[in-house]
């Protein structure tokens, strides 16, 4: 039996593809750099590039100049906008983000209770400001248990939307409970959102759960209430 000769770049593409399918490389996350891939597969730069081109053509990765390549998220904002039942802001998520805080802390009693963690278990605390297309600012505050969000890197936050970020969890997200309320801008919020202290602010609190009902992530979203709205489809 003659074996068909497989080209190395095809083998590499196949290998990376299966890692993506196994969720070893997760949606929205960076894959190893070209240099790292060359070492990993003992291949030349052009071979690695050919492999990456296959993956781009197959819609599995997105290459960003100067940053590298990341696994294409399966969920896009467009799909989210069509889903029934999620409270979503009027604005389509903008691409300009500024990370205000990104550190690890203990969950504490309050988030420990919300996320079913012991007070001394570790969580990521992330605060970021998104500037949407019409120059409106949105402050998002994430508390993400380390156990469910392995390998979160600062770079990842700049490439993906909120939903893609929290969708990188293990176990996967299944359901969400959201509360929308009006509050008055605190000093901190008035500074971040460029509004007056005590101006009305929308606060959207979301707790995401896995399929077996475990709370996985807590997200708070704050924006100027007078310049935005929410749309809901109900049935």
């Amino acid at each position: 039996m003659n074996k068909m000769k497989k080209y190395l770049f095809e083998e590499i593409a196949k290998d990376i593809t299966s890692r993506i399918q196994r969720n070893e490389y997760k949606p929205g996350m960076m894959i190893p750099s070209e240099t790292e891939l060359q070492k990993l597969f003992s291949a030349s730069r052009s071979t690695v590039r050919k492999a990456l081109d296959i993956l781009v053509n197959n819609n599995l990765i997105i290459k960003k100049n100067g940053i590298g390549a990341y696994v294409k998220p399966k969920i896009t904002s467009q799909n989210i906008l069509n889903m029934v039942g999620i409270i979503k802001s009027d604005h389509v998520e903008g691409r300009k983000e500024e990370i205000k805080e990104f550190f690890v802390r203990t969950a504490g009693d309050y988030y420990g209770e919300l996320l079913n963690l012991k007070s001394n278990e570790l969580v990521y605390s992330i605060k970021l400001i998104r500037i949407e297309k019409d120059n409106n600012k949105v402050l998002e505050y994430f508390i993400l248990p380390l156990d469910y969000f392995t390998n979160l890197k600062q770079n990842d936050l700049q490439l993906i939307t909120t939903l893609e970020l929290i969708n990188s969890s293990t176990p996967k997200l299944f359901s969400v409970v959201q509360t929308l309320k009006i509050m008055n801008a605190t000093d901190d919020l008035s500074k971040h959102l460029s509004v007056q202290v005590d101006a009305p602010i929308f606060k959207l609190s979301s707790t995401y759960f896995s399929k077996d009902g475990k709370p996985i992530a807590v997200v708070r979203r704050y924006e100027d209430a007078l310049s935005t709205g929410f749309k809901i489809d109900f049935s």
């Binding site: 988030y111 509050m183 008055n184």
Partner: protein, 245 residues
């Protein structure tokens, strides 16, 4: 990855939020004073004062000069169901009443006319809702009079509009779209809702369709912001089995 200790102010804030959360679920709404909070924990009075201010701004607690601090109990409205507001409010523990202010045919504006697909027969039901004798919302429901003959003769006082539409006209809301915005109350709404001028209100515009895709109701509701939380639960938000591309 940097590790940080939680600051005393943040800790005090989170402790208070936990107390609020537990108070809401147990039905106990009073909170210890600022001084006793400082004594019980090792946190400075300054940090506690800051965190109390933050929770006040978030409308989670309110300070009364006589009663001290207490948890702000809000009404929660569940979104995503085509239920009427009457059904949503917790009638088990609260006294809910509806006062009809007006029920008549009106001219409507271009958006209403376009949605209901009629310009000659727009019926408007104007109501105020009270919970435990406190004004909660001001609403105007616009209906296509051609679909509901005789509707102007019905007495809607303390009745559910959707109940009447179901029983008398066999119309049930099947699906719809809602938008939620915030508006500061003007003279008219301030007097309707008995609040100060420029109080932040939820403005909810709802467009409903029946089972045969016929638009039948356009409604505008104004609710006092500090009294309401909207809540939504959604399952299967990412459908892993389907190929979304």
């Amino acid at each position: 990855m940097e590790y940080r200790e939680i600051s005393p102010t943040l800790k005090s804030e989170e402790d208070l939020k936990l107390q609020v959360r537990r108070g809401l679920s147990s039905g106990k709404y009073d909170l210890p004073s600022e001084r006793s909070l400082a004594e019980k924990t090792n946190i400075s009075r300054t940090s506690i004062r800051k965190s109390i201010k933050t929770l006040e701004r978030e409308d989670l607690i309110k300070k009364d000069s006589r009663k001290g601090m207490e948890i702000n109990k809000k009404h929660t409205i569940n979104l995503l169901s085509a239920k009427s507001l009457s059904d949503e409010l917790n009638i088990k523990t609260d006294q809910v009443s509806t006062v009809v202010l007006n029920n008549e045919f009106v001219e409507g504006n271009s958006e209403i006319i376009e949605f209901l697909k009629t310009s000659s027969s727009i019926f408007c039901l104007t109501r105020k809702r009270l919970i435990n004798d406190e004004i909660f919302s001001f609403e105007q429901a616009y209906l296509n009079g051609e679909l509901f003959p005789g509707i102007e003769k019905i007495n809607f006082e303390n009745k559910s509009l959707y109940e009447i539409l179901k029983n008398k006209y066999q119309t049930i809301p099947e699906y719809g779209h809602e938008t939620i915005n915030v508006k500061k109350s003007d003279d008219f709404l301030s007097s309707m809702l008995n609040v100060e001028l420029q109080t932040p209100l939820f403005e909810v515009v709802s467009k409903s369709f029946d089972a045969s895709d016929q638009p039948f109701e356009y409604s505008t509701q104004y609710l006092i912001g500090s009294k309401v939380n909207y809540r939504l639960e959604a399952k299967n938000i990412f459908d892993y089995k389907d190929d979304l591309e």
